[in-house]
Structure formats: structure tokens, C-alpha cells
Amino acid sequence: MRKAIKNDKESLKSEEHIREIKRRDFFKLLGGGIFIFFQPFDAFDLLELQAQQGRSLPKDFNAFLQITEDGLVNCYTGKVEMGQGAITSLPQIMADELDVPYEKVKMFMGDTDLCPWDRGTNGSQTIRTFSISMRAAAAEAKAVLMQLASENLHVPVSRLEVKDGLVSDTANNRSKVSYGELTKGKKIERHLDRKAVLKDAAKFKYVGKPYLHQDARIKVTGEAEFSADIKLPGLLHARILRPPSHGAKLLTADVSEAEKIKGVRVVRDGELIAVLSDDRDKADQAIVKVKAEYSFDEIKVDDKTIFDRILNAKSTANVVRSNGDPETGRKISDTVIESEFHNSYVAHAPIEPHAATAMIEGDKITAWVSTQTPFPAQESIAREMNVPLEKVRVITPFVGAGFGGKSAHRQSVEAVKLARITGRPVVVAWTRQEEFFYDTFRPAAVVKITSGMDKSGRITLWDYHTYYAGSRGSDTIYDVQHSRTTDYSRGSVHPFGTGAWRAPGNNTNTFARESQINIMASKAGIDPLDFRLKNLKDEKMIGVLKAVADKFGYTSAKNPSGRGYGIACGTDVGTWVAHMAEVKVDKNTGHVQVIRVACAQDMGLCINPQGATIQMEGCITMGMGYALTEEIQFQGGNIRNQSFDTYEIPRFSWVPKIDTVIMDRKDQAPQGGGEPAIICMGAVIANAVFDATGARLYQLPMTPERILAAMKKA
């Protein structure tokens, strides 16, 4: 561990160095124009990042905007496009702030040679923090342009107006000059360190309007390139020997049979054993011919016993927040309810498995990587190959979705190593089995809640314990006098890798909290919406609940009402969401069909309503999977699920009618949209199942067997 940190410091030095080089070089590379450098992290992110990575941050800038000599606006950022639509929504903001046509704005994303450092595309940060600084940078660029125009036209700035990149004198409309003309022959560099004056939201022309995916055309024709689509002469296809389970150690490997296949090259570099060929088929044939023996360090845990392991682990208790005193809360409660909720490991399972294509020319390494973290991937490659950072270029083509799973980028190092050894370009495109095996699963977790209320149904106690879910989404959200949230997450309990999964932590926490609230409501004999409204002070939460009830056409009833209606709400990445669902439960088979889902979302200023709606639909659809079927089955380090036959993700026949509402909040800062609408899916369906059957599910996913078992108990 210590070594890793030291290495990081060294790489930081070279990082600073490369930034210097970049600064000098990119004028050469990018020509003239106006450059605005900016730093899209807010103070909290900075602190968090320092704590996580144990290193200081680039103080300089990590994104920039260029107004080119032909009046184009280019934005260079280390963020990537993986279906979330940043490539579509970010230009809307810039076009508005700069008063240029939308088509004139271009994004350059995820290329470590062209774009400044960025930690990765995750946590719905692209719009939340990035877009705000980007908007300020655009405003600054406009201020520079107006100054230039004022000198050029010899009129004060106050007399100027801009339309579609053309600045004109309001007193004499024949006197005008274009952004391109103003920029010609100039190299103006500005650093954004003060608050820019932003455009009034009421004047937006592009922001707030629905925009279709900008990249749709090349994606429907098959032209869009993903990381395994890079065409290079002499490309070798690699397959790598994989252990049968996590924790297995390679003892011996006999590659003689593989070597006999004509056109196959076997490569061995320490633990890495790979077969390579011009033909993918030959590599596939050869890899199964490698005979390997392993030693196993059996970890005695499986998908059933993991919850005991989690509860018994020696973890430190960390009180995340507290209010009042739980003991007092218990004393003044008329009813106290204790529950324990379980959530399983789930896979990211993007349809594009991890892939990387690597090429080495002289001492320069180029890798096209399917990743959410191009810069960390560049750092890993440089470290593993022992070369300076500037000798590694990571390019991020389109990414076939990530959901957090493509923050891990092991395949990039594999491809580069094999390219170095063979002296040829190499593609490492994981099989579905490898994708399941090396996925950094959403961690299994337990939440224990003791809550109490008085006779009127006011919540008087909320004692919340979350084990290994993470604390995101563990906020009480309700107005409770005596509450405490404790997080138990230190120390490792997982027999394999885990990591961030769309709205990390929040799916588990919201499932537990919102299930418990419905348990209390039905105990109190109060409709679950009324119960929530009674116990909420948060105006935004009340707003989204009322909006979703309206959209859904909800009428009050005590649960179980037999209607199969569910409700849940929560917050994530600065956005408030509330869901309602209607389900049908087959009482013979335990099968759940979700009939319809409504969702209301308060995300502050919504840049692209079309994009935001699509993200909500995507969240709702994907979220049904972890609610109903998705669960990694394992025995120690042995992952049983290898493909979509045993790991069932949502399909066409599952899809409910989806209704979405986005609250009109033009006056507020934009918040995250890629994750919030998934957090309620466990609870909203669990609560609907209870309303339909009277059976309470305490564990996700709610498989037919679990539903039948719960119905027996009910």
C-alpha cells in the first residue's frame, strides 16, 4: 500500500510535468484562439479526492474551452460518453452561454493527449459540477470576446449584442464582427478563478430544450467505434488464462497443446499467460488447451452465508450523523419496530464487455480503452510498463455503458503488456465470462433499523445501521427528533472485487429505509403517502411525492389494499426522486409483473429534458433487475454466474408503462440525473408486493421463491 502511494507521488510529479508540456504544446497542436482554463471540482470534491487518493491535486486546470479562429467552440475534457448523453447536453450549455449555434460546439472527450486530467466519469458529476464550471468558462470566454469586439467596432461593450456568434452594435446594425474574426491570429489565455456573470436562465435558447442524442446517427449505422473496433494492421487477438476462482494461485501451466495450433503464439510473463493469433477463433481454441493447476485458499462463504459474515465482521462503527438521543426516542415511542434488510451482490453487466486495443510505436504507447477512467488507466499503464506518463496515450472511443463497472481498467494494462511482448498491436476483448468474473460487484450489504412512533403516527425514533452498503443515501430524510445513522464498512469481507454500481450504496439504503417506512405506515393504519407527508418537512421531497401521486392517479388506502401499489422516495447526487409502481403478483408462482411506474424528479435546472427522461427510463428499467432477479451466486471466490442465462437482467417483456415528471426548477443549480431514479426501485416494488399480497420482503432480489416464502409467512 505504502509503495502505491509513493508511486502515486512520483506519477504526480510527472503529471505536473506533462501538464507543463501540454500547455506549451497544445498551442502548436490546436492552433490559435481564445483558451479558457478551468477547474471543475468544487471544494468538497477536492477534499474527498485528496482523502481518497492520498495526493494533492492539479491546482492548475483540468478542462479548457477553445474558441477557434473559425468561430467554433471546442471543449476538451477527460470525461467520456457512455450513453449518459454528456456529448449532447454539455454543448447546449455552451451554446447558450456563448450565443453560438448549437452545431458549432464540439466535445473532445477522454483522450489523455488532448484533454487535461480528470479523475473519471462517475457519480453523476458531469452535469453537477463539471457543467457549472464549464458554463462559467463559457461566460468568461464571452466576456473576452465582447472586449475584443468593443475594441474592434469602437463601441462600448454595453452597446453590443450577440446572436449566433455575430457581435453587432445595437445602435448601428451594419457594424458587426464574428467570433471567428475576433479570434483570428490571437492566442489569448485566461484562467477562470473568479465567479463569472452567468446568463439569465430565462434567456436560454438551448438549455431546457429536448435534444436527441448527438451520436445517434453513427450508432444506428454501425460506424461508431468502440474499443474492440479499432482497425490496425497486424492486429493480434489475445485470450488470457484466467483462474477458476478468486484467490486461486497458479501452480503449473502446460502450454504445449496450445502451442501446437498453427498460427498461435503463446506468451508468458510472470502470472500472465496468453495465447495470441491473427484469428480470434484460434486464440479461443488455444486458450482452452492450456492445462493449468492451481492451489486454492478456500474462503468459506457463499451467497447465503455472506450476510452473517458481514454482520460478524470486525468493522468499526462510524456514526455518520445523529440528532437527539435514540434512548429517549425509544422511551417516548408507543410502537417500536426492528427490521433487518439484506441486499445481494449484483453485476454491472454492460452489454459491451471490457475491451482494449493497444499499439506501440517506438516508445509511444497508444491504447483505446473501454473505460470510465482514461487518466487513471494511463497512470496504471505507465506504472506497470515503467514508462513516463507522457509516453502513454489513452483514447476513449464510445463506451458500451459502464454504470461504475468500467472504472476498473485491468484490460488496458493486459493489452499494452501483450503488445510490448509481441511487438504487434493487440486487442484484448473480454468474454462475457471474464466480464462476470472480474466485475467489481455492488457489495452485498445488511441494514438494521429500529424505529419508533407515537400513537398518532409521528416517527419518534430512527436508529439506522448500515453494514457494508456505504453511507450514500443513508440520510434519515424524515423529520425525526431522535435519530442516528451508523455505518459499518471498514475491513474486507468480500471474497472478490466490489465497487461503485449506479448510485452506490443508495439502492440498498433506500430499499431499507423506504420499506421500513411502509412497515410503520401499515402498522399505524395510515396510507403510506399520508404517513410520509405527515413525517416530512423537506419541501422538495413533499413536492416530488405530490407530483408523482398526481401523475400516477393515486388515491389513499391502508396497506395491504390488494391494489398492488407501491411508493418510495429518496435523494441522490443532489436530486430528489419519488416513485410509485403498480405490480401484479402471481400467487401460485411468485412471479412479479410490474405494470407501471411513475417517477417525479427534482434535479434543479434540467439541461436536456429529453436526455434526463431517457436516463430516468433507463434507471427504472435497469432497477427492476436488482429488485427482482439479479444476484451473484458464488461459493468462496468461485463466481457461478457466467452469462445471461443464470444472471437475468430486465428484458422487453418486463418493461412497464413509464411516466416521468421533471420539476421545473430553472432558477436552481443543475444536479445529477444518471442515477437518482434507480434508487427507489427495490423499495417501490417491495412495497407494491406487500400491498398486493400482504407479504413483506426483507431481501433483494425478490425472486419468486422468496416471494412465495414470504407469502407463506404473511
Binding site: Q84, G222, R280, P350, S653
Partner: protein, 158 residues
């Protein structure tokens, strides 16, 4: 072991000297350079690799290239005519029926096969026909709408 395999690929006569047991998916992607056809699972479960063989949607990850000998193959790259997109491609764009776009070629090819058999599919027909094509981003609702719209347009004469 190698032999000459001929087929018509997106309207072009194609001749390759190769092992007839090679997988059609890899041949299309890496011998013919048509990388629009995607790998998602290699086991027939996801549909990302779907192409049309004699007008029938097939999973190219499951077929040896010899099965395509002397037949007509259409891939996602062969759908547009002279730059004019196929109604399904247009409808996918119009409805924004994609996010990451990785499942999209397989979705469109499966839908082409579906509409050829049944130009006026009901919602249920579409769900049934598309059921084994997986999309992780959750574009399903929009894909259904896109297929319905394209069906109508195609019936009206392309």
C-alpha cells in the same frame, strides 16, 4: 483446412480463403472489417451479434462461417441505401431509442427481420420478437415505439 467461402455481403460478392469453422461474427468483424456487428456474450443470449442471413435474423456468434456459404448476409452497415437510412435506423434516431448504442445494431437487425415477417406488429408481437435481445441501458420503451413507427412507414412504401 482452409477453403474458399463465397457469400454476398451487403450486396457485394465476397470470397475468403479461411477455415470454414471460423465464427461468422469474428469473420465479419475482423476479416471483412464490419465492426458494427457486436460481441456481447458469444453464447446466443444477448443478440448484439445479430445479422440477416437470407433475410432471417441469426446470431453470428453461434454460426460457423460455412453456414453462410453461398448465402446473402446483411449487416448493420448494409441497411442504408446510398446514404439513405433504413426506416428503422431513422426511427431509432427519432425516438432516441439508444443510450450507449452498443446493443443497437443487433436490435435493429432483429427488428428488420421481425418487420419483414410482420409489417404491422402489435406491442405484444414486438415484445415477443425482441425478447432475447438485451439492452442494459434500458432503452426498451423507446425501441418498441421506434419499431412500431418504422413498421408503419415501411408499410406505406419505403
Amino acid at each position: 483446412m482452409e477453403e474458399t467461402i463465397r457469400f454476398e455481403l451487403n450486396g457485394k460478392r465476397t470470397e475468403l480463403l479461411l477455415d470454414p469453422n471460423q465464427t461468422l461474427l469474428w469473420v465479419l468483424r475482423y476479416k471483412c472489417g464490419l465492426t458494427g456487428t457486436k460481441y456481447g456474450c458469444g453464447m446466443g443470449f444477448c443478440g448484439a451479434c445479430t445479422v440477416l442471413l437470407e433475410g432471417e435474423p441469426v446470431r453470428s456468434c453461434m454460426l460457423p462461417v460455412s453456414d453462410a456459404a453461398n448465402k446473402k448476409i446483411i449487416t448493420i452497415e448494409g441497411l442504408a441505401r446510398n446514404g439513405d437510412l433504413h426506416p428503422l435506423q431513422k426511427a431509432f434516431m427519432e425516438y432516441d431509442a439508444l443510450q450507449c448504442g452498443y446493443c443497437t445494431p443487433g436490435m435493429i437487425m432483429t427488428a428488420v427481420g421481425l418487420l419483414m415477417k410482420n409489417p404491422e406488429p402489435s406491442q405484444q408481437d414486438i415484445i415477443k420478437g425482441m425478447e432475447d435481445n438485451l439492452c442494459r441501458c434500458g432503452s426498451h420503451v423507446r425501441i418498441i415505439k421506434a419499431i412500431q413507427t418504422a413498421g408503419k412507414e415501411m408499410k406505406g412504401g419505403r
